[in-house]
């Protein structure tokens, strides 16, 4: 099943007292269910903007973007928010855990918006998910008491607790050491594989990028598909 279909997508922002700034132009991208895609690019090349478009956080100013068959331009308001919550899981570089809440409460948060049985069984589901990422013993720990790797695992559990079909990871290992980063990526891939979810990863790390099935590069706002994995040590 095709989860993402971008045709000639562009994103231009208006800058006060200056010319409009084009961040993305002519982006063509398709992502199928279960596929793993990595996107590399220099800082400011528009990687995060692209991820925001795919995550229905932002909207393209040009072209057509379809997420799970729905035209993103037509998705508005609560329907857009609900689709984002139900079908898309975000993993952020800085984890973005909610301060003051335990690991369990953080993982339960998306289930507050799920409704139905998922809402009523949210604690059990969240515990299972934390167990799945190896934090079954640390459910009551607050973020400030967790290591970076543990925090990212909580963030992964939170992103995947509603079993999204599209997982968007923005520099998921950016704040972690090499070994922990590798472990975290294995975990994301494993959980994604279980639900046949597609995984789109933005990264500066060639080693992380190499783990994907398909590798793309953002250059001057254009997404360029590469046939070969990004060589180790090359500039992202």
């Amino acid at each position: 099943m095709r989860l993402v279909e971008a045709v000639d997508v562009g994103r231009t922002v208006q800058i006060p007292d200056a010319e409009p700034l084009t961040i993305l132009r002519g982006v063509e991208l398709t992502v199928e269910a279960g596929e793993r895609v990595s996107i590399v690019g220099r800082s400011g090349s528009g990687k995060s903007t692209l991820l925001n478009l795919l995550g229905l956080i932002d909207s393209p100013t040009e072209g057509e973007l379809r997420i799970l068959g729905e035209d993103a331009a037509r998705l508005r308001g609560a329907r857009r928010d609900r689709m984002r919550g139900q079908e898309i899981g975000f993993v952020f570089q800085q984890f973005n855990l909610l301060p003051g809440r335990t690991a369990l409460e953080n993982v339960q948060t998306p289930l507050l918006y799920a409704g139905g049985a998922s809402f009523w069984r949210r604690e059990r589901i969240a515990r299972e998910m934390l167990g799945r990422v190896g934090l079954g013993e640390r459910t009551d720990a607050k973020p400030e008491r967790l290591s970076g790797g543990e925090q990212q695992r909580v963030a992964i559990a939170r992103a995947l607790v509603r079993r999204p079909r599209l997982i968007l990871a923005d520099e998921p290992t950016g704040a972690l050491d090499l070994e922990t980063g590798s472990t975290v990526m294995e975990l994301i891939e494993e959980v994604a594989a279980e639900t046949d979810a597609a995984l789109v990863t933005i990264t500066h790390d060639p080693a992380i990028a190499r783990r994907a099935d398909r590798h793309l590069r953002l250059s001057e706002g254009r997404l360029v598909p590469l046939d070969e994995p990004v060589p180790a040590g090359s500039a992202a």
Binding site: N52, G55, I57, D58, G77, A78, D81, R82, R84, G85, Q86, F90, F92, N96, L98, P99, G100, R101, E105, T109, P110, L112, Y113, A114, G115, G116, F119, W120, R158, R162
Partner: protein
């Protein structure tokens, strides 16, 4: 059914989220709600204390002019009619119109023998219903009842100054006083009315009208109370039908007394004067309460707005996990409303303790109230309602602020 279930789950989950937020931010919430709790407490206290004070003013007015509605009837005739005939006619008229409380009232005097000499004491001759109509307070013994009319020695209810002159004998010993004059009598003290103020130093007394009629007149010769001057008559009438009943009593009373007799009837209670004699007190109380509440609300809005700014990133994160704008709006509002409701409960609780405290009761004259009002339900309802209203209004601005931020900006905040 499914839609209903979804709606119910949505509501419950929003409340759960709000409660969770309250728990997480309890320190800040507590601080921000102190102002609201104090404001609600002040509001409920002012309203509650106002009700006690209002009752004080009402009772004080009723002691003078009678309860609402009290009407006074005066009989005027060139030749005074027979007092017995007047009394009978009065009772018949009261019975006809179902008036339970009616009294004769005349002012006179008695010559009383005290240990330090004979003193002329002003006296009010009344029927037992007078005590109910005028809320007569009795600090010792009791007010007249129907059996007092059958006493061989007339019963008197004396003032505290009178009691002082007697040496404050215990009423359980049935103290008596000597009434001087031709054919002097002995009266039994059955009750003592408290002092009305520091100025109230001269002895005075109440006596039953029939007993007074049989008393010797100070100075020796003279007539009974129904002699040259007829008493006035008072009736406590249903306030809602006061005017037609007063007119009917006046008409029937005059008719029963025959030609040449005129009867005037008019209201003397406080409620007869103007729309609401307590309006000024009420408006003052409400004005103070509203100002207090506005100050509390202002403080809450201030803190709530600052707080939302610090939580924008968190709101952005929630939006990425599927929180709709409506849900964020509702959650922020609920936080405010649930918080202020709790503050309202605390505020009203403290207000009840304050208003019912002996000190406040003393300050408001509650110790002298015959019908000390309970903590008024309206004060509790107004307190809680205002708290929730303030919570909703104070939650509106931050809630709008929360949903105005774009998700993409919020997660970068």
């Amino acid at each position: 059914m499914n839609a209903l279930a979804r709606l119910g789950t949505g509501f419950v989950s929003a409340v759960v989220e709000a409660m969770e937020e309250l728990r997480i931010h309890r320190g800040r919430v507590l601080l921000s709600l102190v102002g609201v709790a104090v404001a609600v407490c002040a509001l409920a206290t002012v309203v509650g204390a106002g009700a006690v004070a209002e009752q004080g003013v009402r009772e004080s007015s009723e002691r003078g002019g009678g309860r609402a509605a009290t009407a006074t009837f005066n009989v005027n005739a060139a030749t005074p009619p027979d007092p017995v005939q007047v009394g009978t006619a009065w009772n018949e008229v009261l019975e006809r119109y179902g008036v339970a409380y009616g009294t004769r009232l005349s002012y006179g005097e008695m010559l009383v023998q005290f240990t330090d000499g004979a003193v002329t004491v002003p006296v009010q001759a009344v029927d037992p219903a007078y005590g109910i109509i005028h809320r007569v307070r009795v600090s010792e013994g009791a007010w007249f009842d129907e059996t007092d009319a059958e006493r061989l020695a007339p019963a008197v209810v004396i003032s505290e100054a009178f009691w002082d002159r007697l040496g404050r004998p215990p009423l359980a010993t049935h103290p008596t006083v000597e009434l001087l004059g031709e054919g002097g009598r002995t009266a039994v003290v059955v009750g003592v009315t408290p002092r009305n103020g520091e100025w109230d130093t001269e002895p005075s007394a109440f006596i039953l009208a029939d007993a007074y009629a049989s008393l010797p007149v100070p100075g020796g010769t003279g007539s009974s109370m129904m002699g040259s001057l007829l008493p006035s008559f008072e009736a406590w009438i249903d306030q809602n039908q006061a005017d037609p009943i007063i007119e009917a009593i006046r008409r029937d009373f005059a008719a029963a007394l025959g030609d040449g007799v005129q009867v005037d009837g008019f209201r003397t209670d406080y409620a007869a004067f103007g729309e609401d004699p307590l309006l000024f007190v009420k408006l003052l109380v409400i004005g103070v309460a509203v100002i207090i509440l506005l100050l509390g609300a202002l403080g809450l809005v201030n803190i709530a707005l600052v707080t939302v700014r610090t939580r924008i990133r968190e709101i952005g994160i929630r939006r990425t996990f599927g929180a709709t704008a409506g849900r964020v709006f509702f959650a922020v509002m609920m936080e405010s409303v649930v918080g202020t409701f709790v503050a309202g409960v605390v505020g009203v609780g403290v207000a009840i303790l304050i208003v019912r405290s002996p000190l406040m009761s003393m300050l408001l004259g509650g110790g002298e109230l015959e019908d000390l009002p309970g903590f008024p339900i309206e004060a509790a309802v107004i307190g809680l309602g205002s708290a929730v209203l303030v919570g909703a209004l104070a939650g509106l601005l931050p809630a709008f602020a929360a949903i105005r931020v774009r998700v993409i900006d919020a997660i970068r905040f």
